[in-house]
C-alpha cells in the first residue's frame, strides 16, 4: 500500500523536538531582530508529548491529513461482502458478464442523442427558476380569460432564450460526441484465444486481459498481472487523472507477475468493490491457484493513466466504460452562490412584494369600479356585459365580481411580470462569463513557470472577490514555491552550512561516464566545498564513513525513480528523478551532486554510482512513509551481503528511535543544528541507520512477508513490523531543505494588508519555520507584539487565551491613538491548542482574540483544523473569507471558505479541483482581488441595481396607465414593445457595461490597495442604495407618465401614439440614466448605449409599419408633431435632474475614495500620485 502523498505528510506533521519547543514556551524573550520587538509567550507547564500530537480524537484534530478527505484512501481493510462485491473471472469475460451485466467499455460523455435531445435539454433548462417563472406566466397567458398578450408575444421571450441555450448545448454535445467517437475507436490489444489481438476500445469487456505498451493510455481500469519488469513494477503517469506529472509505481502481484498470458493461462477470480469515485482507493482480492491474494490501490491502473518506462503491462479489466473511476469523477464545477446574489435575493423578495402590492391595488380598484358601475355594465358601450346576439341574452365574458377581481389579479401579474427582473439572472450570468473571460486572459495572472493561466472554475462568485476580508493561506506551495532545494547538512554532529559555491568542480555540476556518454542529474545543486572534498576523499576515518553512509541513505532511502532522458547532445544524458515527494527529489539530487548518483531503481535493487564507481544494492524491503511513524525505512543488502536499515524521518519521531547512548554529543549537536535550520525557515529531516545481524534480518523478513501478504489489517501489521525494526538507530545526520518563498509574496502580503484584508497562515510546519516564513514574507514585522499559544490541555488553553485577551486589550488601548504596526498583535497558535479550543466553549474567546489580531499564524494544523479555523470566522461574522492552498490538505479549507483559490503547483490538482478559482502563483491574488475583484464587484453591484430600476420603471409606467383605463390592464405600449423591452431595447448596454466598465485603472488600484475597502464596506450595493434607487425610479416613472398625460389631456391622441411616446421615453431614460453612470467610454460602450436607442427606434418603426396592428403608422404622425419632441426632451431632462443634483452634491461634499482616486488620476499628474503614495507608505 503506497502512502499517496508522502510530501504532504511530511509537511503537515513534521514537528520540532519537544525540548526545543519547551525552550520557547518557558521564557518571555525579545526576538533579537529589533530592539523594540517583543514576543510574549504564554507559558504552559505540562510536559508535552509530541508523539500523540494530533491523535486525540477531537473533531478538528484530525489524526492525519490523509484520512480526512474523501480523496484519500481509507486505511481500513474490510472484508468485502459478496453482495457488495464485483466478481471478475480473469480472462473469462463470458463468465464474468454472465450473471451481472457490467458496463461495456464504450463511453458516452455526450448527454443527448438525436431523439432525446429536445426533451432532455428542455427538462434541464427548466431546472432554472427563472425559466419556470417565464413558463408559468406564459401558460397563464394562454388561458382565454387571462390572455393579456397575444400568443406569439407571450411565448417569444421564453422561446428565444430556450432556443439559444439549446443551440449552445447541442453544439457542446456534438463536440463531446466527436471526442467520444475517437476515444471509443482507439485500438488496444486484448487477449483472445490466447493471443493478443487488436480490438476497438469500446468492445473491451470486464474480465478480459489487455496489454498496454509504453506511452499508451490505459483504456479501462485494470488490475496488473505482469509487466515487462521482472519484479512486476509499472510506472505510470496520472496527469490526466489528477494532474500530477511525476511517475507513480504500480505493482503486479507476486503470484501473477511471472506468468506470460499467452502461454501460461491465468485463471482466477477477482473480488473487488463496486465502482466508486475514489481514485486513490481500491480494495479487492484475487483467488489464484487456490490462494487468496489481496489487492490494493497499488495494483490497479486507472483509465487515462499513461504507462511510462515500462515496455508493456498486462492486466485484467475490472471496471470498464462509464464505471471506470476516471469517468465517475467526471462531474461538474462546484456550485456556490455569491454574497451579492444572496443579498440581492432579499431585494428580489421586496420587489415581489411590490409586485403583489401593485396587483392587489389594481384588482381592488377594478373590483370597486365594477361594483360602482354594476347597473350600467350590461349595455355600457365600452363594457357590454350582456350578449344579445343569440336568441337568449347571456353574460359575455363576465364571471361575477369575485372571479373578475381574481382574473384581474392574475392578469396584472402577467402585465407587471418584469417587476421581478428575471432577465437579470441571465444578464448576471452573461456578465460573469465576460468577467471570467477577462480574468482568464489577464496576462498579469499568467504563470510562465508552470505555463498556467488563471482559471475560473466557479462562475457565480466573481463579485465575491471584491469583498474579501480574510485570506487563509497555506504555506508550503502557496507562499513558498514547493521547489525543494537542499541547503545544509549536519553529519555526525558537524554542521556543513558554510559558504556555498556554484557547482564546485567541473563545469555544470557533477556527472558520470557511462558507455562513453556523460550522464548528469537534471537539476543542479549548490554544494558545500568542504563537504564535497570530504565526500570525495574516501578514507577510513569515522567522519568519512559517516558521510558515506549519510549520502548513501539520501540516495537509497526514498521512492525516487531515475529516468534517463536524452538531450540534444547525443553524448549527454540527463537523469531526471521522478517521485511523489519534492523533498525526496531534493535529497536525491543533493546526493548526486556529492557523488552518490542514483541511476537505476527496480523493486528489487538499486544502482548507485558512488564517486564514479557503480554499485548495486539489493532492496530487501521498504517501509513506506506513514503519518503515524512519520518516517520511512529501507533495508539494503550490500554487495558484500551485509544488511543495513536506513531510516529517514521527522525529528520528533526519529529522536525516539535513535539510540542516544551511542553518541550523546552528536545527538545534542544535531539537535542544535536542527533548531538553527528550522529557525531560518528550512525543512529538516533526520537520517539514521543500523546494521542488521543475520538473525535480526531473518526475523524481520519472516514477519515482513507474513504482514505483506496478510489479508486483514495489512497496513497495521506492516507498521508494527516497521516499528520493531526501526529502533536503536545510530544517528547519521540531518538535512535541511529550503522551500523558497514565491516571487512577490512579501509585496503581495503587504498589499493585502493595506487593503485591510487579514491574512492568516495555516501551515503544517513547525512553529519556528512558520514564524521565520512569517518574517520573510513580511506577514510579521518586528514591531508587532507576538502572542504565542501552545498548550496541551483545555485548562491551560483557557488560561492562555484569557491572558492573551488581557494583553491584547491593553496593547490596543495603550496605542489606540496612533494606529500603526506597534499596536498590532500577531497571534501564533499551534494545532494541539486548536484541538482543545475548536469545538469547545473556548472558541468564542479565540475568535475574540483573533479578531483583534492583525496576523494569525497557525502551525502544525491538520487539514480539518484548517477548515475549522475558516469556519470559526465564517460562522461568527458576515465577513467574506478566502482560502488559498495548493495541496490535498487544503481541500477542506478551500471548500469551507466563501471563495476557494487553488494554486496549481507541484502538489497535484486536488486543491484546484476543489477550488473556485485556480492560478499559478500566490502573488496573483493581488490583481485578482484588488483589481478584478474590485471591478467585478462594482460592475455587478451596479448592474443589479440598474436592472431593478430598469424593470421597475417600465412596470410603474404601465401601472400608472392602468389607473386611467378603468383598471383593466390595457397597455398603451404595444405588447411587442413590452416583450422586447428587456430583450432588445435595454438588455445589451447593461451587460456590456457590466463587463467592460472600469471605475479605476489597474495601476491606481494596485498603488492604493486601500481602494479595495469600498467592496468590503458594501458601498456599491446595500439596502439604502436600493431604496434610493427605488425612490428615483418612482420619480422617473411619474415624470415619464404624467408629462405626456397632462400634455395630451383632452387631445385627440390615440393610445398607440401615446404608447410609442412612452416606449421611446422610457428606453431613452433608461439608457441616459446608464450613460450618466458610465465611467469609461470605450467605443463598445458608445456602440451599445446609442446602438440600443437606435435599435429601439427601428423596432418601434417596424412595429408601427405592420398594418394589422392597431398602432399602424402612429409613430410617423407622432414624430411629425412638435409636441412630441418637446414632451420627450422635457421627460428626459426632468426625470434625470434629481438624480443629477444628488449625485453632484454627494460627489462634492461626501466624495468616496473611488471618486477622489478618479479625480486624482485625471487631474493630478502621476508624479503626485506616486509621491502621495510614498508618503502613505512611510506613515
Amino acid at each position: 500500500m503506497t502512502s499517496n502523498r508522502p510530501d504532504f505528510n511530511f509537511k503537515s506533521s513534521s514537528s520540532t523536538s519537544s525540548r526545543n519547543s519547551d525552550n520557547i514556551n518557558t521564557q518571555i524573550r525579545n526576538v533579537d531582530l529589533q530592539p523594540s520587538s517583543s514576543q510574549l509567550s504564554i507559558q504552559s507547564n505540562s510536559w508535552r508529548h509530541s508523539s500523540n500530537l494530533g491523535s486525540r480524537g477531537v473533531r478538528h484534530g484530525s489524526r492525519s491529513g490523509v484520512d480526512s478527505e474523501g480523496f484519500s484512501m481509507s486505511r481500513k481493510e474490510i472484508e468485502i461482502d459478496d453482495d457488495d462485491a464485483r466478481l471478475v473471472y480473469v480472462n473469462n469475460p463470458v463468465k464474468t458478464n454472465e450473471s451481472f451485466e457490467f458496463s461495456g467499455n464504450s463511453i458516452r460523455t455526450g448527454k443527448y442523442s438525436v431523439i432525446t435531445f429536445l426533451p432532455r435539454n428542455l427538462f434541464e433548462q427548466f431546472h432554472r427558476v427563472a425559466y419556470l417563472y417565464f413558463l408559468i406566466i406564459a401558460i397563464l397567458n394562454q388561458l382565454p380569460q387571462l390572455a393579456v398578450f397575444g400568443r406569439g408575444a407571450s411565448i417569444f421571450p421564453l422561446a428565444s432564450v430556450l432556443f439559444v441555450t439549446a443551440v449552445k448545448d447541442g453544439y457542446e454535445d456534438w463536440r463531446r460526441h466527436k471526442s467520444d467517437k475517437i476515444e471509443n475507436n482507439r485500438m488496444s490489444y486484448v487477449l483472445v484465444n490466447d493471443r493478443f489481438r487488436q480490438k476497438k476500445c469500446k468492445d473491451i469487456q470486464v474480465g478480459e486481459v489487455v496489454k498496454v505498451s509504453a506511452d499508451e493510455t490505459i483504456p479501462c481500469d485494470i488490475v496488473l498481472l505482469s509487466t515487462s519488469d521482472p519484479t512486476g513494477v509499472a510506472y505510470i503517469q496520472t496527469i490526466n487523472l489528477d494532474g500530477e506529472s511525476n511517475l507513480k509505481t504500480r505493482y503486479a502481484k507476486q503470484e501473477t507477475l511471472s506468468r506470460v498470458p499467452e502461454k501460461d493461462i491465468i485463471s482466477g477470480l477477482i473480488k473487488c468493490e463496486k465502482p466508486n469515485r475514489n481514485i486513490y482507493g481500491f480494495q479487492g482480492n484475487m483467488e489464484i491457484d487456490g490462494k487468496r491474494v489481496s489487492l490494493g490501490p497499488s495494483n490497479i491502473i486507472l483509465r487515462g493513466c499513461v504507462i511510462k518506462n515500462t515496455d508493456w503491462a498486462v492486466g485484467v479489466v475490472v471496471y470498464a466504460g462509464r464505471e471506470t473511476k476516471a469517468m465517475l469523477n467526471n462531474s461538474g464545477a462546484p456550485s456556490k452562490r455569491s454574497r451579492l446574489e444572496t443579498h440581492m435575493n432579499q431585494e428580489i423578495m421586496l420587489l415581489s412584494f411590490f409586485l403583489v402590492t401593485l396587483c392587489v391595488v389594481v384588482s381592488a380598484c377594478a373590483g370597486v369600479w365594477l361594483k360602482r358601475h354594476q347597473d350600467e355594465l350590461d349595455i355600457m358601450p365600452f363594457y357590454r356585459r350582456k350578449d344579445y346576439s343569440e336568441g337568449q341574452v347571456e353574460n359575455y365574458n363576465y364571471y361575477g365580481l369575485g372571479m373578475e377581481i381574481f382574473f384581474t389579479f392574475l392578469m396584472s401579474v402577467i402585465v407587471f411580470q418584469i417587476m421581478i427582473p428575471i432577465s437579470l439572472y441571465i444578464s448576471m450570468e452573461l456578465v460573469r462569463v465576460g468577467q471570467a473571460y477577462f480574468m482568464i486572459r489577464d496576462d498579469k495572472m499568467y504563470d510562465a513557470t508552470s505555463n498556467t493561466r488563471f482559471q475560473c472554475r466557479a462562475l457565480n462568485i466573481n463579485e465575491d472577490l471584491g469583498q474579501i476580508k480574510y485570506v487563509f493561506s497555506d504555506k508550503t506551495g502557496t507562499l513558498t514555491e514547493n521547489k525543494m532545494e537542499f541547503q545544509f547538512a549536519s553529519i555526525s554532529g558537524v554542521d556543513y552550512s558554510g559558504e556555498k559555491t556554484e557547482f564546485y568542480g567541473e563545469e555544470g555540476g557533477y556527472s558520470i561516464q557511462v558507455d562513453g556518454q556523460i550522464w548528469k542529474p537534471k537539476m543542479k545543486v549548490q554544494v558545500d566545498p568542504n563537504l564535497l572534498k570530504l565526500s570525495k576523499s574516501r578514507n577510513d576515518t569515522k567522519s568519512s564513513k559517516d558521510i558515506y553512509d549519510f549520502f548513501l541513505a539520501l540516495a537509497a532511502c526514498n521512492t525516487i525513480v531515475p529516468i534517463v532522458a536524452n538531450t540534444s547532445n547525443p553524448n549527454e544524458k540527463l537523469i531526471d528523478y521522478q517521485g511523489e515527494s519534492p523533498d525526496e527529489q531534493a535529497l536525491v539530487y543533493a546526493a548526486a551532486a556529492y557523488g552518490f548518483m542514483l541511476i537505476e531503481r527496480t523493486s528489487g535493487h538499486i544502482v548507485i554510482d558512488i564517486q564514479g564507481e557503480r554499485q548495486r544494492f539489493n532492496v530487501l524491503g521498504m517501509h513506506e512513509f506513514d503519518s503515524d511513524r512519520k518516517r520511512m525505512s529501507v533495508i539494503l543488502g550490500y554487495p558484500d551481503s551485509t544488511v543495513k536499515v536506513f531510516v529517514k524521518g521527522a525529528d520528533t519521531t526519529m529522536f525516539k528511535v535513535i539510540d542516544e547512548s551511542l553518541n550523546l554529543d552528536v545527538v545534542r549537536a544535531t539537535e542544535t543544528h536542527l533548531h538553527s535550520y528550522s529557525s531560518i525557515g528550512l525543512r529538516t529531516l533526520v537520517v539514521g541507520a543500523r546494521a542488521l545481524s543475520v538473525s535480526e534480518f531473518d526475523t524481520w523478513q519472516t514477519s515482513y512477508e507474513i504482514a505483506s501478504t496478510a489479508l486483514m489489517g495489512r497496513a497495521g501489521l506492516l507498521r508494527k513490523v516497521a516499528i520493531n525494526l526501526e529502533n536503536n538507530l545510530s544517528l547519521l545526520g540531518a538535512s535541511a531543505i529550503e522551500d523558497r518563498l514565491q516571487k512577490g509574496v512579501p509585496e503581495a502580503i503587504e498589499s493585502l494588508r493595506k487593503a485591510n484584508i487579514k491574512v492568516w497562515v495555516l501551515t503544517g510546519d513547525k512553529q519556528e519555520t512558520a514564524i521565520s516564513i512569517g518574517y520573510s514574507s513580511k506577514l510579521l514585522t518586528s514591531k508587532m507584539t507576538q502572542i504565542v499559544i501552545n498548550n496541551n490541555s483545555k485548562m491551560t488553553c483557557q488560561r492562555s487565551l484569557e491572558d492573551a485577551l488581557i494583553i491584547s486589550r491593553k496593547l490596543i488601548n495603550v496605542t489606540h491613538a496612533s494606529e500603526d504596526d506597534a499596536s498590532s498583535v500577531a497571534l501564533i497558535i499551534d494545532g494541539t491548542s486548536l484541538v482543545y479550543i475548536l469545538d469547545s466553549d473556548l472558541e468564542e474567546q479565540l475568535f475574540e482574540l483573533a479578531s483583534k489580531c492583525a496576523v494569525v499564524l497557525c502551525c502544525r494544523v491538520a487539514p480539518l483544523q484548517k477548515a475549522g479555523i475558516v469556519a470559526l470566522i465564517k460562522n461568527r461574522t458576515d465577513d467574506m473569507t478566502l482560502a488559498i492552498g495548493d495541496g490535498a490538505n487544503d481541500v477542506s479549507m478551500i471548500q469551507m471558505a466563501d471563495v476557494g483559490v487553488g494554486i496549481s503547483g507541484q502538489e497535484g490538482r486536488q486543491a484546484v479541483m476543489a477550488s473556485d478559482f485556480a492560478m499559478g502563483q500566490f502573488r496573483f491574488l493581488v490583481p485578482l482581488l484588488l483589481v478584478h475583484g474590485h471591478w467585478n464587484y462594482q460592475r455587478m453591484a451596479y448592474m443589479i441595481l440598474y436592472n431593478f430600476y430598469r424593470n421597475a420603471l417600465f412596470v410603474l409606467v404601465l401601472f400608472w396607465y392602468v389607473l386611467y383605463t378603468g383598471f383593466t390592464l390595457t397597455t398603451a405600449i404595444t405588447e411587442w414593445s413590452s416583450v422586447l423591452y428587456s430583450i432588445i431595447y435595454t438588455a445589451i448596454p447593461t451587460i456590456v457595461i457590466g463587463i467592460l466598465d472600469k471605475d479605476l485603472s489597474r495601476k491606481l488600484l494596485m498603488t492604493y490597495p486601500q481602494l479595495y475597502g469600498s467592496g468590503q464596506r458594501k458601498e456599491s450595493y446595500n439596502v439604502k442604495l436600493f431604496w434610493v434607487t427605488m425612490a428615483d425610479t418612482l420619480w422617473q416613472s411619474v415624470i415619464a407618465f404624467f408629462i405626456p398625460v397632462l400634455a395630451y389631456w383632452k387631445s385627440d391622441i390615440d393610445s398607440s401614439s401615446l404608447g410609442d411616446l412612452w416606449t421611446l421615453a422610457v428606453v431613452f431614460m433608461v439608457n441616459i440614466h446608464l450613460a450618466m453612470d458610465v465611467i469609461r467610454w470605450t467605443w463598445i460602450s458608445h456602440a451599445s448605449i446609442w446602438g440600443s436607442i437606435i435599435a429601439t427606434c427601428i423596432c418601434v418603426v417596424i412595429i408601427d409599419a405592420i398594418p394589422v396592428l392597431p398602432g399602424y403608422w402612429a409613430i410617423f404622425y407622432l414624430a411629425s408633431s412638435g409636441l412630441f419632441w418637446v414632451c420627450l426632451a422635457g421627460i428626459l431632462i426632468a426625470s434625470m435632474i434629481p438624480r443629477f443634483i444628488v449625485k453632484m452634491f454627494m460627489q462634492h461634499c461626501k466624495p468616496c475614495d473611488i471618486q477622489i482616486a478618479r479625480e486624482a488620476e485625471k487631474f493630478r499628474n502621476s508624479m503626485e500620485i506616486t509621491r502621495s503614495g510614498e508618503i502613505e507608505m512611510n506613515r
Partner: protein
C-alpha cells in the same frame, strides 16, 4: 453524490477546458502532448485597456450643464406658453341641455327611443378671431375607449380585406348577426365599431350654414392601408341592441372617415375626436348657432359630451402645461446652478486631493 450544476454560458468560456480537463480525461492526453505556451495573447481588449473617454464632471461642468438646461428650457417654455395662448378654443357642453325637460328624469328612455326628436339647438360665441383651419371636435368625458374589453374588440384583418370577412374571433359579443338562424359576420365587427359616435353638428353663422369639411379627417395611412377599399359594411347594427351610428352599406370602409377616426381608440378617458374642419375664419364676438342631433348615449354611464371648435399651433391644442413645466424645470436648473456656485465658492474641495481619502481622514482624526 453528483452535484447538479447547470450554467447557461459556461461552454463559451470553458471550451478549452472541456477538452482539457474534466470532460474526457482520456483524449486530452493527446491534446496536452503538444505543449504550447498558454500565455494569453496580448490585446488591448483582453487586457481591458481599450482607449476610453473618462469624463469627470468638475464644478465647471456641473454649473455649465445646469445653466445650459436653464437657458434652453426657459425660452422653450415661453414659446410654448405663447403658442398655447394664441390657440382659440370654444367648448360647448350639450349633453344635459339637449335633453328635453320632460325626459330629464329618465334620460335613457329618451335617448334609446328612436322616435323621439333628438334635434337640439344652442348658441356659442367666438371669443377671439379664429383663423382657418378651425377644427371641429367632439369631446367625450369618462368614456373608456382604452378599456381592455373594448380595445381588443376589433378585427383589423376584417377591416383591411374582404377575404377576412369572417375572421371575427376577437369581436364578441358583436361578431355575428343571427340572420334567420344562420350566423353571418358583422362588418365591421366588434364593440368599437358598434359604439360608433353618431351625434351630428350643423353650424349656422348669421343664417348661413358653415361648411364643415368632413373629408381628410382620418389618417392617410388608415384610409389607404388599414381600411380596405373593397370592404363594405354588412349586417352592421342589425342586432337588437344598437350601440351607435349606422353605416352606409354602399360606401367602402376606407371612405368612412368618421368610423376610421373613431376606431383609432383614444389613449385617455377624456378625449377629443376630429369631426371636421372649417375653412373660413370666424371673427370675434360672432355668434354661432349649433344645430345638433343628440343621438349618442353617454347618459347610461355618466359621460359628458362637448362640442369643441379650436385652432391649432405647433404645440397642438390649448394646453399651458408644457410651457409651465419647461419654465419650472428651467427655473430649478437656474436655482441649482446658483446653489452649486455658492457651494463651490464657500466649501471648495480640491479635485483629487488625497487628504480626503477615507484612510487618510482616519489617520488625521
Amino acid at each position: 453524490m453528483k452535484t447538479y450544476y447547470y450554467s447557461l454560458l459556461q461552454p463559451i468560456l470553458f471550451l478549452p477546458q472541456i477538452t482539457n480537463a474534466d470532460m474526457n480525461p482520456v483524449t486530452n492526453g493527446a491534446l496536452k502532448s503538444k505543449k504550447t505556451s498558454k500565455k494569453p495573447e496580448y490585446s488591448r481588449f483582453t487586457q481591458q485597456e481599450l482607449p476610453a473617454w473618462k469624463p469627470i464632471l468638475t464644478p465647471g461642468w456641473v454649473i455649465t450643464s445646469f445653466l445650459a438646461i436653464a437657458f434652453l428650457f426657459i425660452p422653450i417654455g415661453l414659446v410654448s406658453l405663447f403658442a398655447s395662448e394664441r390657440v382659440v378654443e370654444i367648448v360647448y357642453r350639450y349633453d344635459q341641455d339637449c335633453v328635453p325637460e320632460m325626459y330629464r328624469g329618465n334620460v335613457s328612455a329618451y335617448i334609446r327611443n328612436s322616435l323621439t326628436n333628438k334635434t337640439c339647438i344652442g348658441n356659442i360665441t367666438v371669443p377671439k378671431k379664429m383663423d382657418p383651419p378651425i377644427f371641429v371636435y367632439y369631446q367625450l368625458d369618462n368614456f373608456y375607449q382604452n378599456h381592455r374589453r373594448y380595445v381588443k374588440s376589433r378585427s383589423d384583418k376584417q377591416l383591411r380585406s374582404a377575404a377576412y370577412e369572417s375572421s371575427t374571433k376577437e369581436c364578441e359579443p358583436e361578431a355575428r348577426f343571427n340572420k334567420s338562424g344562420d350566423p353571418v359576420p358583422i362588418v365591421p365587427c366588434g364593440l368599437i365599431a358598434w359604439s360608433l359616435f353618431n351625434d351630428t353638428y350643423n353650424l349656422i353663422k348669421k343664417d348661413k350654414v358653415l361648411n364643415i369639411n368632413k373629408k381628410g379627417i382620418a389618417w392617410k395611412s388608415d384610409t389607404k392601408v388599414k381600411f380596405g377599399s373593397n370592404v363594405y359594411p354588412k349586417n352592421f347594427q342589425s342586432n337588437d341592441l344598437i350601440g351607435g351610428g349606422k353605416l352606409n352599406e354602399s360606401i367602402p370602409l376606407s371612405k368612412q372617415e368618421d368610423l376610421i377616426v373613431w376606431m383609432r381608440t383614444a389613449a385617455l378617458p377624456t378625449f377629443r375626436k376630429l369631426y371636421g374642419k372649417i375653412n373660413t375664419s370666424l371673427e370675434a364676438h360672432d355668434t354661432i348657432t349649433v344645430v345638433l342631433e343628440n343621438n349618442y348615449n353617454t347618459y347610461s354611464f355618466g359621460g359628458q359630451k362637448k362640442l369643441v371648435l379650436s385652432t391649432t399651433s405647433w404645440i397642438g391644442g390649448k394646453n399651458d402645461f408644457l410651457g409651465i413645466a419647461y419654465l419650472t424645470v428651467g427655473g430649478i436648473c437656474l436655482f441649482m446652478a446658483l446653489n452649486f456656485i455658492l457651494l463651490y465658492v464657500f466649501k471648495p474641495r480640491p479635485l483629487g486631493d488625497p487628504s480626503y481619502l477615507s484612510w487618510n481622514r482616519k489617520a488625521v482624526n
